[in-house]
């Protein structure tokens, strides 16, 4: 929908304002990295995992989900705690009182642990265009 509006606006611009669009003129090179909620066979493999009941430890597909996430070996992996599951996404569901707080991580911690275990492969995810060099000590 958004692209349709942009293209329609661009098509109407010459008639409306006298501005012409030069689609072949390169102003710069796009260096963004696409991120999807599934794997994507591009230069940088990126993935986003979103909290939902199927990634809980009690889920019958939990083990397969996180094994697949590890096997994917994504260049960038993102974990998103979104709002429809407040007990998972929010660690303090009520404001503090004078003598107590509601901090509770019991639903959030297992998901973070499993995500980090599946994505923290030492140095395996690190991709740089040039070799890294350590700074001189002196």
């Amino acid at each position: 929908m958004g692209y349709a509006v942009i293209f329609l606006a661009a098509a109407l611009l010459p008639a409306a304002s006298g501005i012409s669009v030069e689609w072949d003129a390169a102003e710069g090179i796009l260096r963004s990295t696409p991120t999807l909620q599934a794997h994507h066979p591009c230069l940088y493999l990126t993935v986003q995992l979103v909290t939902n009941p199927l990634v809980e430890r009690k889920s019958p597909v939990h083990d397969n989900v996180f094994q697949s996430l590890q096997d994917l070996n994504a260049s960038f992996a993102r974990f998103s705690m979104w709002f429809p599951y407040p007990h998972v996404a929010v660690a303090e569901l009520d404001p503090p009182s004078a003598n107590s707080t509601s901090w509770d991580f019991k639903y959030m911690d297992p998901l973070v642990e499993d995500f980090m275990s599946a994505t923290q492969v030492p140095f395996k995810q690190l991709h740089t265009p040039h070799p890294l060099r350590a700074a001189p000590l002196s």
Binding site: F76, S80, M81, W82, P84, P86, H87, L93, W103, V112
Partner: protein
């Protein structure tokens, strides 16, 4: 890491309801799930950006620094010292 949901009580709303029982039984499958609440986010502006920042600071400390000092001065420890390279 994208902890995308701030507490609703930190916003300009008098209601910050959430499911009382996180384990839902309806619909039946999957066998256990967190009760969905599409209306959790309410309010527009945070009451205090400082409090909001403190919340995420404590959340970060829980996972990256082995714990945090809560609003009442109590240290709440955690076993985590993760290195979140991007927040």
């Amino acid at each position: 890491m994208n902890f995308a949901t701030p507490p609703t009580w930190m916003f300009n709303t008098t209601s910050w309801s959430y499911p009382t029982d996180p384990d839902d039984v309806t619909p039946p499958p999957p066998p256990s799930c967190k009760q969905v609440d599409w209306g959790y986010e309410q309010g527009v502006n945070p009451k205090s950006l400082t409090d909001l920042g403190d919340y995420f600071g404590r959340l970060a400390a829980h996972y990256m620094a082995g714990g945090f000092v809560d609003e009442n001065g109590v240290f709440q420890s955690s076993p985590y010292h993760y290195n979140f390279t991007h927040w």
